[in-house]
């Protein structure tokens, strides 16, 4: 009886929350653009399809580059790469964070010490530096490899946060009861502790999603990103490399940045909106 009522309550507050609505609306626009985009353009991203330096026009929606490539085609493919990095990189980081956080928080003792040490070390080493080695080693890199790398280095703060939450839930009476009834530790974690943290885990995933996108943009810009694909960071890199600034080709470097800012910003706003929906204390605001 109580469950459907609770869900309705959350839905009610979700529909009333302007931050959530705004964030989701912006995200929806970009998701639709990513899915429908390929149908709207007939150019391959790196083909020389038109005259160079063309400002946006009916023929080339976002203009053309120094070489006469269509910026809009690159933009759409870059959006796909961005979402891929967000989902795979953010998802992997959340997954590792969940596993490490649950083990450390629930087991405690020596497991906790070792995992904590590992978390702190990964936290401090600038990931960029490690990527330099990997980038030199793998001469051909794809968006997927980049996402996996980001996922493997972005998890520490999530692990820390989830560990703290698990720690506080571990001593609750319902967990004690489950333990007394002889439930296996992993079963306790996934049936007793995890459901109580679902909303929190969702928020962690959203933040990791946005963080992965920003990291990928930085890596691509430095030239450590994918070598065989288009991405928004790579577009900015090419624009700066080929003199878009001095030539005033703003349509080359403005759209990728606006897209990243809008997507990541929308994710953050959605995150705060969801927080207000899930956390009754914040609702009254």
């Amino acid at each position: 009886m109580t469950k459907p009522k609770k869900r309705n309550e959350i839905l009610y507050f979700a529909l009333k929350n302007n931050k959530l609505k705004l964030g989701l609306a912006v995200l929806l626009v970009f998701v639709v653009l990513t899915l429908v985009g390929p149908l709207l353009t007939d150019y391959a991203p790196y083909d020389y399809v038109g005259p160079p330096y063309q400002p946006p026009s009916a023929e080339y929606w976002f203009g053309t580059t120094t070489f006469g490539q269509d910026v809009f085609s690159q933009f759409i493919l870059g959006l796909q790469a961005t979402f891929l990095v967000g989902i795979v990189g953010g998802g992997l980081a959340t997954l590792i964070g969940v596993l490490v956080g649950f083990s450390a928080g629930y087991r405690g003792g020596i497991v906790d010490e070792v995992l904590n040490m590992l978390t702190n070390i990964v936290l401090v080493i600038p990931t960029l530096a490690i990527l330099l080695i990997i980038a030199a080693y793998l001469t051909v890199r794809g968006v997927l490899a980049e996402s996996v790398f980001i996922g493997c280095t972005a998890w520490p703060w999530a692990a820390r946060a989830i560990r703290a939450q698990t720690f506080s839930l571990r001593s609750r009476s319902f967990v004690d009861l489950a333990r007394l009834s002889g439930m296996k530790p992993w079963k306790i974690i996934f049936t007793q502790i995890a459901p109580n943290m679902m909303s929190y885990l969702l928020l962690v995933f959203i933040l990791q999603f946005g963080g992965a996108i920003l990291t990928a943009a930085t890596l691509d810009f430095i030239g450590l990103g994918p070598t065989n694909a288009v991405s928004l960071g790579l577009m900015m890199n090419n624009a700066v490399l080929w003199g878009a600034l001095l030539l005033g080709i703003w349509w080359w470097f403005v759209p990728p940045g606006v897209a990243i800012m809008a997507i990541v910003g929308a994710l953050y706003v959605t995150n705060v909106g969801l927080d207000e929906v899930f956390n009754p204390k914040l609702r009254e605001m």
């Binding site: 040490m117 702190n120 080493i125 470097f253 990243i260």
Partner: protein, 330 residues
Amino acid sequence: MKRYFGRKVLIYFLTFFLAVTIDWLIPRFMPGNPVQTMLSRASLHAGAYERIYDYYAGLFGLDLPVWQQYLNFWKALLRGDLGISVLLFPLPVTKVIMNALPYDLFLLVPAILLSWFAGNWFGAFAARSKWLDNTISPLGYMLTATPYMWLGILLAWVFGIVLDIFPISGGYSFALRPHLSWTFIGSLLRHWFLPFASLFLVKFGGWAIGMRNMIIYELEADYSHYLEALGAPRRLVRQYAFRNAILPQITGLALDLGVIVAGALATEIVFSYPGIGYLLLGAIQNKDYFLIQGCFLFIILGVLLANFIIDVAYVLVDPRTRTGMMGEAA
């Protein structure tokens, strides 16, 4: 407190050890080896190639067993010897980096500190007034979601090209030689401003948002309600909320250092600002392994040092770590 610092220092040593090991691996992981790369530039007879290769391999110690090479690397490192840069031959890497380091410090330290203080300050105010909240919050979300280098590109385009107020490349005017004069300092500052502004603005947004949300959390905490129920003045409640909200912001600063450093590298590349980031780019493009190793090591050292300073600051601000009650677990 001893326990707290003991664990921290242990972690720093382990991290440093691991980092140096990774650093040592860099040239050994690269496809081909540095001596081969160097010799391939000179056209030599087959016999001469063999002999020169052996000579250099001996010189760099590449013919020793691996563990010996590793120990030698540590020994040289502790003497401050990081090898000779290939890119800026024949300068030693230590000297090249020392020339670049002031630019990094000059860029990063003010950007990190000022954005942190200003962000927290405005964030705390934003949680206080509806009007500020409606202006600072959206702005903060937009800023913190902006990639550093893109803001850099935009600023460079608007202020450097369109309005032509600030220079967009280099650490100082190419017409000047480094010397102590007002003209030179003015030129330094003019070149510094845009990279600084892009780092500052992005971080400012992040801290302001973080602080605003933290304060709102704290104001809903039981102790705040209790204080209110006791009839404490609003100002006092806010003050307590602020003191509690500042703690996660300090931890956040430590967590964020790696991201800021990466952002600074990208920003330096946008503005061709002669710090370690720009140096690193040149080193990678020219496969200058000694310089890559040196840059990597300095970045790690900087981040570790900054982390340590933040740890000390945390102990000063949070009394719980001092009495050993609890606080941030190491």
